[in-house]
Symmetry: D2
Subunit: 149 residues, 4 copies
């Protein structure tokens, strides 16, 4: 199977299971081998009394882009660790886009860089680096031997 | 004002404004100078299809404990950066407790260590380190010169 | 073998091999299960033109304390990653002490916190967190079955 | 002054003061606005008994590339914090090259990514991320108003 097709298929399977991301209205875009973007609008449930987004939701969006990017090779990969820098606040109503790109892979490990930007003007909201660790399981699982294949 | 009293008063003011934490049912406990705990139950909206908590919500809880701990001196302090290690998964229904303790402060900076545990058995779910940066504003703000004082 | 004795024996074997640390005059102290201290004086070769220690040598000292601490169980453990915060500069002639303490272990992984202080007054120079990953080899190796035993 | 020229001039002034880097034979290359490379050969003084480079020296090289890259704007910038992942060991005799590139700057802060590679085959030895904080001092200092200008 073509690597680009495989990557998108993995993302589709993951998204279907990811109720948390679905509920927050997160959309996954631009998926390819080792890369993915995640888009989310800051809603009233994500902000504090000053209408500034809780850092946890900014992290969650970046973590999603990372998770989708590192699972594009049909090998289940879990987030082992991450670092985040909060560059500027996101506000109620802002649409945010997190772009994840693979930096390097070695053994079962992978490092992914994610930049979260405000969609309206491209201003950087956060810089994130995620560390994934892959397991001996396939993302596509049963699907691969069944109907989807 | 006594440092313990001041710390709790700051937390009360912060919590009142923090709609995101309130909505998730997060409770803040054991607040004192440079320390705070945050408690949260993993609900259906926080999990994926395998009933495992999204790492973003585990981070959010740790980030909350950190934010409350570093704002206990009545000086507004924002999260500048954080690192998290995901030690083991949290599951639907698990009650999690994040305990934040100050490691060191210097200039406008502070470093806080947060351990997230499963309440039932104390198993470590995540280790988090937060980096705060304080500003020239008070947490208690108007309250200090008004009725609360 | 007693855990304290085993820890010190592992440290002795490691130190004997560690030419880099020996050459810098680093001394290892207070070794026990999951803990170790490393002591070093800032020499002329470690400073820049303003007599301030290069951050690389401060990191190296912290990394040493971490490496000795995580190899105290007679299981070879390598540094997989680390984070460091430079709190204040160290200067020519300063004696520095790095104290490493285990935060948590899980599977083959361990997290160790190291604080580097100026010995003269205890001022914090750096805060370090190291991530170790253990291998299927013993630290004591041949020694255990040979003369040292 | 042209930004490329200014960057190289800052690096020249910094290098002249940096006795620690000089003594280790580190060479600074490819300096421009927000970028720099540092090259070093792993010598006998940098290794342990298995001829593997001490992680402290790998960090030091990456830290150098970072320090030179973030001081290219003629504003003194100090390393506030850094994270490093050790991807594979470097060995006695290996020539290492650390390439630093700016990821983002905001306020007085800057984030720089550094990859350390083995020169012979480009294999990644370490991934480093440095956090700089700039001060109200110029790198060129007296030089700018004196002879060098």
């Amino acid at each position: 199977m073509d690597a680009e097709v495989l990557a998108r298929r993995c993302a589709a399977v993951m998204y279907e299971r990811d109720r948390a991301s679905q509920r927050l209205g997160i959309e996954i875009e631009d998926v390819g081998p080792g890369r993915a973007s995640a888009r989310m609008r800051v809603t009233a449930e994500m902000v504090n009394g000053h209408d500034i987004a809780h850092g946890g939701y900014v992290f969650l969006l970046a973590d999603d882009a990372f998770a989708f990017a590192c699972n594009t090779y049909d090998q289940v990969t879990v987030a082992a660790a991450a670092e985040v820098v909060f560059v500027r606040p996101a506000r109620l109503g802002d649409e945010l886009v997190a772009e994840a790109a693979e930096r390097t892979r070695y053994g079962r490990n992978g490092i992914y860089d994610v930049t979260v930007r405000r969609a309206a003007d491209g201003a950087v909201i956060a810089e994130f680096r995620g560390h994934g660790r892959s397991q001996d399981r396939r993302v596509l699982g049963d699907q691969i031997s069944g109907r989807v294949r």
